[in-house]
């Protein structure tokens, strides 16, 4: 067995503790987790847009995007929708319970080309989860970036994830937050309608100096990209994160194949140009 012991096992789930978990909105829970091993917890670094594989023994394993920022190390945050066998079991986990995590995987957002540029973050529904990572990363490294616009749309005010957190962000002067819901309630004071409606609120920007980051339901991409292209933002400056079925996270199991690429390695972040260049992405 000496041969094998020399190869680190990339599929090894590592024990982690649920530090805190609570309901965000109905069927959506927020999890803060931390590797049991303190050195591993502090050394765990990642890029916004990367994901981890979460395991529960006997139930299975699935990919989840990281919702926290690497600029605040030690804790991994994830916002999870209850949607199957594994998430059903995860939702039963209490604070201090054990789960298993491995990662991080994927390419993450291209932060290098974002440096010094104006950033437009466009989130729809659960798509805000990976974008929350890049949002806080930019805020934590504020001087490295130009203006910051955060556009977020949900169906109703009750379905806004991290509502109080995001409403508090409006107090900051170094970010423009634009929130909208399709179906407002009487007490809703922000925008109404789909997320693309808020593009008219953006100031005049130099499109070559803008990086847009987009995540949301498949249907949203088409409309958001149309708006971004109307602003004349180059196609390779629009970054989007995709979802696929995955069993390994490291380019072996084949499930996330796109054309001849693997979402888990060459993605999950692709530019709009990539989606035109490689077929099948969206």
């Amino acid at each position: 067995m000496t041969v094998v012991e020399a190869i680190a096992n990339p599929f090894q789930p590592e024990p982690a503790r649920v530090v805190r978990q609570y309901e965000l909105i109905k069927n959506h829970r927020f999890f803060q987790v931390r590797f049991r091993d303190v050195n591993r917890a502090m050394a765990f670094s990642y890029k916004p847009g990367q994901f981890v594989m979460v395991s529960l023994p006997g139930i299975g394993e699935a990919p989840f995007c990281i919702s926290s920022t690497p600029s605040r190390p030690g804790i991994i945050e994830m916002g999870i929708r209850k949607t199957g066998k594994l998430t059903d079991a995860l939702f039963k986990k209490k604070d201090n319970d054990q789960i298993y995590v491995r990662g991080p995987y994927g390419n993450g957002f291209n932060l290098d080309i974002m440096k010094g540029k104006d950033i437009i973050i466009v989130a729809g529904g659960l798509g805000v989860m990976p974008l929350r990572s890049v949002l806080y990363y930019v805020l934590d490294n504020r001087d490295d970036f130009g203006r910051l616009f955060f556009l977020y749309g949900a169906k109703t005010p009750d379905e806004i994830l991290f509502k109080s957190e995001f409403l508090q962000l409006k107090e900051r002067e170094d970010i423009d937050c634009l929130y909208t819901v399709d179906k407002p309630t009487p007490d809703w004071t922000e925008h109404e309608g789909v997320v693309t409606k808020m593009f008219s609120c953006l100031p005049k920007l130099d499109p070559l100096n803008v990086i847009a980051v987009v995540a949301g339901p498949p249907i949203m991409y088409k409309f958001v990209i149309k708006e971004l292209l109307e602003l004349k933002i180059p196609k390779n400056q629009i970054q989007m994160t995709l979802e696929r079925r995955m069993k390994c996270g490291v380019g072996k199991c084949g499930h996330c194949a796109l054309d001849h690429l693997y979402t888990c390695i060459q993605g999950p972040v692709f530019t709009y140009w990539d989606t035109l260049h490689f077929k099948e992405l969206i």
Binding site: R245, K247, G251
Partner: protein, 343 residues
Amino acid sequence: MRVMKMQAKFLEVFLESLENFGTLYGPQRKNGVLTWDRLDDIKQLVLGDEHTLIPVKKLFHPKKFSMFNFDEGGFQPDYSVIEKRVVIGVHPCEIHSLLRLDDIFLVAPTDPYYGGLRQSSAIIGFSCLPTENCLCKSTGTDIVEEGFDLFFSNLEDFYLVWIGSSLGYDMIHNREEFFEENVTHDDIQKYLRWRADRDKLYKKSFDFRNMPDLMELSHADEAWNDFGEICISCGQCSMVCPTCNCYNVTDVFDVSNTPSGRRERMWDSCMFVDYSLVAGGHNFRGTRADRLRLWYTHKLKAYGREFGIPGCIGCGRCVETCPVGINVLTVSEALISPEVHIK
């Protein structure tokens, strides 16, 4: 490369002597089917031109095995699938298939199961003559230059033995009385004649070299829908294809009172409807046409990475196996042909 000569009469004794280097594996007939398995006796070994139903990948990427055992203490890797082996009788196309699988499984981070099985297995290649559906001349996989420890070119009364690794050299050295250093001019002539004769035996071919471009051009071709109409999503193509690497992972509890069990890995196929299904019910490849196109993208365009080589190694198994006649020949014909694709 060092090449030696061995008289045919020594073959069986020599192969038996390889037990010193690991458990012997090779093609053998079981219930009428030629299959890769452990050889309890060297006499079970079937060397010849016929290829096994299931390719040699099953010895390196097993159909089903346990990756981890789990209990309350966590996940412990289970490497029991790995053993020291000598795999005898691997045809050139199958050696190429392992090199293709290496591109997936050995590229960092290395898969320790496949990687462990590769590292602990010696490959003893054997030449073959084309059978009915062999396409290896088209795919350029009829000859091997790497990927074996020893390779035996069968020239009837003797073998040319190509030594591909230091382990291979040790195997020869162990029974050096069987081997002759001097390959004569006549031997070389005989080898050249064998190669020329072999080239004439191919009955089928296809335009493999132009397929990557054609696959790009034909992404929206109607042929995919036509094939999708007749495909029954049985997944047999994936099972018999030497370069299909996809697998699924499932956790299985032990039948006991403790929360223990194992995490199993087993072959999967992109032909199955739930292959690209994600949480919430969205299926990225809901149609059979989409799934077929993915399969053939990997076989005929690129495999593993951008600008990589296509996965097809021309063994012809899909030609023999697909119950509705979808295979690299019919697909490439349909994409090239100006005619209506299939009936």
